[in-house]
């Protein structure tokens, strides 16, 4: 049995995940992801329909700290980790591409 993920699916998912794949990688991931989805297909039990969806093991809701100001991390130190900065900003290539 195969859950059948197509090459087009792999390309689509890679685009959503901001990954560039070679044609060899597309073929490899198509084969591997299909087999993993077969494994995932083993989730089968009559009781699942009545089971609540569980996102988390704890019943915590809206955990808040006291609203007291305290020092955060130093800006210079955080900027120092970035590949490129300008003044107090992270610098990146232009957001909008040139029209082709």
């Amino acid at each position: 049995m195969t859950s059948g993920i197509s090459k087009a699916d792999v390309v689509h998912v890679a685009r959503l995940a901001r990954l560039r794949l070679s044609s060899g990688e597309i073929a490899m991931y198509q084969e591997q992801l299909s087999r993993i989805l077969d494994l995932v297909g083993e989730m089968d039990d009559d009781r699942l329909a009545v089971m609540p969806a569980m996102a988390h093991t704890q019943d915590l809701v809206n955990v808040l700290r006291e609203d007291v100001p305290r020092p955060g991390l130093e800006r210079e130190r955080l900027l120092g980790s970035a590949p490129d900065t300008e003044g107090e900003f992270f610098r990146i290539p232009k957001i909008l591409g040139e029209p082709e």
Partner: protein, 479 residues
């Protein structure tokens, strides 16, 4: 004296440092000498800072001389999995995308270990972003199993396990999302504890699957693991999921025995194990019964559904967590004329094959049209696993199973087959899905390779779990 230092357990070593019987500098020099012999063969570490370790030890010795009371880990060399943020070492999660990154803060567990007098000796290798069961997915190097250098140490905390078993560190921290502390502990013959979800702050742990990740101790003995657990357990306001519950005494009372404990031997997890592993688990059951526990066989078939559910939930959460690695604020940046091209290059060149596989799997499971069939269904399985555990824990105090279905496998043997690799997590995954604690304890060997058995317990039952683990450890002759 060096052999003497290496022979001491953590509590005895810390006591010797506190009393001045040995200095912390002597301890660290001894362990660094051990590293210089073992590390070239084993490859457990991604970074080591001998100078910083010695100067931290010297500061500890000066504090003692000036009359300061030292902590419970005084002078104890500790190895830290490289997905824990440290200001003193680069933190890479074994990924090229974080090569050379030095975090601006320490993980809470790191601060707690240092405050207790522990010496951070180095950062250990792992499967990239903790995704794997062999440490072969590291972006940097292979770590070898000290029992057989042709075999894997397990994973993803394989570097921490290898460091402890080859005595390059006395204690280590690992993280466990689907078995990443317990399975390498099993494959290297040490003790590994995955605490109850929320027992240990995740602040400063590079996130893989946030609803499953938990940091825990790895040690040569159960008592050492308990000592480390006492240091790292406890509420932390920096982690909203950290539990505000009291931390029990874990070392005192650990010798209390298992008399009158009801222990369930999980038959369907026994069936998936190799014969030698299953036999070891049965011997462990007999040993516990011999110590006065009541041991009965129980089938909990729902636990086997945990494996497929995990391979939806964990990649789904990972695909979201790893979206932050975009080449903007930290880590590796690839080329690109536009911001999006730059992000695509950074991620495509920075992530390894397994990480990409899981990101794509998670993205697919969460994408339009597939959410109900995969993610929602996996969440329902998670409830089913939890309710099956709850039912079992109404009849049993603890459950016993293999940790890993096999002993350590050969390097390269499973690396081409992700599904085969994933299946080896079947015994450890259920406790992550339910958020309950579990521990792996060495109990036997097959062809010179260690076998671990797993004890599982209900939420917050670490005291009971460690007590039974201690009894098991005492009940194994070492053969």
């Amino acid at each position: 004296m060096n052999d003497g230092i290496l022979a001491l357990d953590a509590a005895s070593l810390a006591a010797a440092v506190r009393s001045g019987e040995v200095t912390a500098v002597e301890v660290v020099e001894t362990y660094l000498a051990q590293i210089s012999v073992q590390e070239p063969e084993v490859g457990a570490f991604l970074s080591i800072d001998a100078e910083a370790a010695i100067s931290a030890a010297a500061a500890l010795d000066r504090a003692r001389e000036s009359g300061e009371e030292l902590g419970p880990l005084a002078g104890v060399p500790v190895a830290l999995k490289d997905n824990l943020c440290t200001t003193g070492f680069p933190t890479t999660a074994a990924s090229r995308i974080l090569e050379g990154w030095i975090p601006p803060y320490n993980a809470t567990v790191v601060d707690r270990v240092l405050a207790a007098g522990g010496i951070a000796i180095g950062k250990t290798n792992l499967d990239e972003f903790a995704m794997g069961s062999s440490t072969e997915n590291s972006g940097y190097k292979i770590t070898r199993n000290p029992h057989d250098l042709d075999r894997v140490p397990g994973g993803s905390s394989g570097g921490s396990a290898a460091a402890v078993v080859s005595r390059m560190a006395l204690l280590a921290l690992g993280s466990d999302t689907g078995g990443s502390i317990r399975q390498p502990a099993s494959l290297t013959g040490i003790v590994g504890l995955k605490p109850t979800y929320g027992r240990v702050s995740r602040y400063g742990l590079l996130a893989f699957a946030s609803s499953l990740d938990q940091i825990g101790p790895m040690a040569a003995t159960v008592k050492d693991a308990a000592l480390m657990a006492e240091v790292i357990f406890g509420h932390d306001p920096m982690d909203a999921t950290s539990l505000a519950v009291p931390v029990p005494a874990l070392v005192d009372g650990i010798e209390g025995g298992v008399r009158s404990l009801r222990i369930g031997l999980v038959s369907n997890l026994l069936e998936v194990a190799a014969p030698a592993v299953a036999a070891a688990v049965e011997r462990a059951a007999a040993a516990l019964a011999g110590e006065g526990a009541t041991v009965e066989t129980v089938a909990i078939p729902e636990l086997s559904l945990g494996l497929p559910a995990y391979y939806v939930v964990a990649p789904a959460e990972a695909s979201s967590n790893l979206a932050r690695y975009d080449g903007v604020r930290y880590g590796f940046r690839g080329e690109g004329a536009t911001a999006e091209e730059m992000m695509v290059s950074s991620r495509s060149e920075g992530f390894g094959a397994e990480v990409k596989r899981r990101i794509m799997l998670g993205t697919y499971a969460l994408s339009a049209g597939y959410y109900d069939a995969f993610y929602l269904r996996a969440q329902r399985v998670r409830s089913l696993v939890r309710s099956a555990f709850q039912e079992a824990y109404s009849r049993f105090d603890l459950l016993l199973s293999p940790t890993s279905p096999t002993t350590a496998f050969k390097i390269g043997e499973r690396s081409d087959d992700p599904v085969e690799m994933y299946r080896s997590d079947v015994c450890t995954i259920p406790s992550n899905l339910s958020g309950d604690p579990a521990i792996s304890v060495p109990f036997g060997k097959e062809g010179g390779l260690p076998i671990g058995v797993q004890l599982m317990g209900p939420a917050l039952a670490e005291e009971r779990l460690l007590r039974a683990a201690y009894a098991l450890e005492a009940g194994w002759s070492g053969e």
